[in-house]
Symmetry: D2
């Protein structure tokens, strides 16, 4: 209950620090009989992995996931799936100095306040490296969802003020910034390069679309799907804002502009527009789920910064070491994986919502 | 686990529908010895209560909370506090027609998809009336927090495009819109009146400030305080977006602009600025916590709307009955109460974070 | 999280004290579409109700349950079912004296140690009256299970050393002690009467059989069905022991005596014997589930007892007031209801165990 | 939520199968600042380890635990502690035959029913080997408790009908059966040897005493300490019964025999006797906690047994391979570790029970 557990039925527990021996995740509650191997996880690890472009840290981690349990002869057994990712390139010498002061924008001070001390090597548990375990779990959830033809796709919507002008899924993997618009990506690349040259960093917005979600998922009241997605995404270190459908823009619309008219399409209930972002009253309405989140600029910058030491003296610091001038592209993969986890859990939770379906589940066997 | 339970230690369960006999909440995990009576809850119920201005529904509910358990001789006993609020003005006749079609922007369709049918009276469980129980719980949490000098204050930041230009807490209760700026409130009032005359509705943004939170609250990884606040606030029916500190604006700032320099102030670690909104790495940093959320325009509008009937036919509807042209001012109270619940729970969760404190807790008795 | 919540998906929260205004329960997670009314609950309340024989307290409570939410037009809606039971015969005057000392065998001392003070009226939250709310919840679970032809039956197996020699379900309701053996009940009645005349009390053993449970329920490792049943039953105030199948006797058997041979019966896998009590590896095996629990003698006796006062002085006391010389027969109903809750929850939990069933659940709609 | 997670605040998640690559546990919620290394865990692993006497399987596992996260410079950091135990002696060839039939007394059939198939190598997840991870977690909990001078001690009370006649803690480790009575252990040894020669197995009873628990732990109603202990202990594979204090014997006592008189001893409230087993109303009363559990005879026996094949044919089988003729001595360590986990969690849960203590916790810093 110290916050490293997520989900109700599809429940994941992550562990590990930036510069420890390894990090990993245990998934309890994945249904039995899902075909699964490391091959399903590796592509996700690759997307999140550092060192792939000029815009990400040069830390060299192979990030090879190893499944230690819960899979037999290529299928999940219904018991916990333990996945481990060994840390290879730890370089903990780089970080020895930072133990003595509090880096602005980082969790150094708050960890000390909460726990009395901290593992200072690379940010310890508060490092972005923690998300590697989330991605391994999300890859399993994504495999599960693919069996039901559900697909989450997250990408960089904007970097600073430079926004993708189109949403061409095929272009997402054609540029280092995971933008669905190569042209915008090129401009954003220049913008990042300039910030990097100044020893500064930039932020951006990630958008995620979820296709194939049946109507009826999410629980009324506290565990609305929108609330669960917000919880999941806001739990990623650098995320400072979350919105669904029209989001903050809805506050400026009138009711008749924001409401989505129901229509009949191909014989089924559908909506003329999708201002709601696929969720009504916290429950999926069958249309595409669409949300965005704001990622702050990387707090580790090489410009001189003012801060205080652990023993209470003001000082100036220059953070050296390997840092991303922007984490938005790598975070997109994490956002997508968190969405995968939420949808997988909601699917399993929803199975007990109707008496008629419970009865047919147990009598049609 | 159908989503009506919130919190880990300070755990609340709400129940009740818009037009049922009553609604209420059970709070399990409130520490023993807190002075508590209905008088602590009533002011909160009054703030949320309908029928208080031209901008809220004319439904007449006294919303008198009654404590049924968990309090003895004016103090909480450590056992569940059950609070009931009876529905007096049910008028369920008004709603008989809406059972046959799906109101745009409402949960009618999604409830039918999830549960196979729904209680159509006033939106049933998906009605905003459900939040009355949250407010009763939040009032108890607020009383608890007041013992530790912690105070949440939520207010209307903007209505449509009209934004408060100042944050004068004393003005919040001087206008019907709970804006901390009477002048902006006057303009917003005209804007709402116009929308109402058109049979339309408007939305807005709520801001919440939390003072007195000690550093160290919130859990790393999935249960970051920012994530718990997002979950709590996004679980309110009409909320479509959430941001903390700079929020979405952080995506446009550079690292050196967004980082808060640590300084020494009055002998303690403090921050020169508060772009982080009081939370670093998911843990409170001792400065003011500040977040905002976007509230969509009320979906119930009297303008003619296109929709479909339960049996799959397209139709035009005019929703009659008592509806708020704007729910932002009433929702501000709900947002504040959800924040109270999150902070109360985080305070109790945090007590087990350090071994030295656990030992002194049990040995200094 | 202060322990008044039980269950994972079929989740119940009880509240209320012996001499408060009312007590009740909120059930969150009951599937939608179950026919339910107070008529389904009343018979259970009657079985548990005091004042029905010479062997139970004369406290006069009608124990009429009222459903306040979650049911519309005779069917559950999938939203929380709130049930309230008003306390009518509170007689709190009877209990004023006991606030000053600690009754042996009761929770007076431990509540004071935990919470700093207590509601002394009738034992407050630690009163057996708390179980009225469990019974209301269990009645709903039983109604749910009846739709799947699952039935829990609990009865008095023994009182002191007097044991039922047969298990004739039809006789259970033919005697005041709920024994499946009228003859044994007659002897036990004399035994209780004698204890009562001495101002003393007696205990006994309750047995519960559960028919119709499909194989496959219960989760491996920590949430084995046997563990969940033990948790549920041991949480009833006076229960001091729990055993399943052969139970403690299994410790005296050899492997070949205790193992149940698998056989084919009517074309299906069955077992020749049922030493396991219907559970293997924590998972139901399709045969009858059978467990027993030990109920201690009522701690409230009118014989003079030695104890200490709240301010630390030794004293002699005579507890007056209305007390049961034996609570076993009334507790049988509570045990049965707790079993109902466990099975209902296990049924819903189990729906997500297999990928093929998850897929057909979502694709056969 | 598939049952591999245990505890509320001190929360453990175990993973791993008998013949997988490894097994392990993640502990989330252990307070920061506890001195911890593998050296604290190894002695517990040794106690549980197979191959140590004639009465346990010859499987040769070093069972060396490795801490992968959550500890920095010899102290816990407050973040998840991941412990891995590699499987070295897997011999999975031994088990290939058993995939085709259902072993009596094992979970083969029920796993197939629940999950559709199973990992047949050594029982997979339902193997007793799963408890190695529990022991690693329990060792950490025990280290935590030792800081508060709390100590759990479990031992073999009886094997078959041979019972320890005394409870001399010093003798527990002087015999291979972990009995606190060397003489009884010698007799029990002969009894086991005889059963083994017959290709049979035996069971027994484990007793556990917990010293140093302060009054006030455990939660009223569903999470009584007795209920949590029962849940924990009944979740161990072979355990079929649980009792606390007088347990099943309480059912045969009268109220005045079973009640414990409160007395003043050394100026504090104490009890003259301890029939309650240290728990009143589900809450610890400050005296020694004492419980017992029944362990069934090992189901794997080499005698010929009747069973059915996976494809529904009756057959006779002879289970070969390495099996314990009795698991009681090794299970004692597991029981003790489960008790450690329950007490550790209850200690942390209890910290939020009183307002005055919450206030002083936050204001005395």
């Amino acid at each position: 209950m110290a916050g490293s557990v997520f989900g109700n039925i599809f429940k994941v527990t992550t562990w590990g620090e930036s510069h420890g021996k390894a990090l990993g995740v245990v998934i309890d509650g994945c249904p039995a009989g899902l075909a699964l191997s490391e091959e399903d996880i590796i592509p996700y690890m690759q997307r999140r992995r550092p060192g792939q472009s000029d815009f990400s840290t040069k830390r060299n981690e192979s990030d090879t996931p190893e499944i230690l349990s819960g899979v037999f002869e290529g299928k999940t057994t219904g018991t916990p799936i333990s996945i481990i990712i060994k840390n290879s390139d730890q370089h903990s010498g780089d970080y020895s100095a930072i133990a003595s002061y509090y880096r602005p924008g980082h969790a150094d001070f708050t960890f000390d306040e909460k726990f009395g001390f901290r593992d200072p090597r690379g940010g310890g548990r508060s490092s972005g490296r923690e998300t590697a375990a989330r991605v391994a779990a999300g890859a399993v959830a994504a495999k599960f969802l693919s069996e039901l033809s559900i697909k989450c796709t997250a990408y960089t919507l904007s970097i600073g003020d430079i926004k993708a002008e189109k949403t061409d899924f095929s272009e997402i993997t054609q540029n280092a910034l995971y933008m669905p618009d190569n042209e915008a990506a090129a401009k954003a690349g220049e913008f990042i390069t300039k910030a990097k040259e100044n020893g500064d960093s930039v932020g951006g917005v990630i958008e995620c679309r979820i296709d194939g979600v049946p109507a009826g998922l999410g629980e009324p009241v506290f565990d609305k799907m929108s609330a669960s997605l917000a919880h999941a995404v806001m739990s990623i270190g650098a995320v400072k804002g979350f919105e669904i459908g029209e989001g903050f823009n809805a506050a400026r619309l009138s009711g008749h502009e924001n409401n989505d008219a129901f229509i009949i399409k191909d014989g089924s209930v559908s909506k003329e527009t999708n201002h709601s972002g696929g969720i009504l009253g916290g429950i999926s309405d069958g249309s595409q789920i669409l949300f965005r989140c704001a990622v702050k600029p990387t707090p580790s910058i090489s410009m001189t910064q003012k801060t205080v030491t652990k023993d209470g003296k003001e000082t100036d610091i220059n953070i050296t070491g390997r840092h991303d001038p922007v984490i938005v592209p790598r975070a997109a993969c994490v956002v997508e994986c968190m969405a995968d986890l939420v949808i997988a859990d909601a699917l399993l939770m929803n199975m007990s919502s109707r008496m008629d379906k419970v009865i047919s589940f147990y009598t049609d066997r």
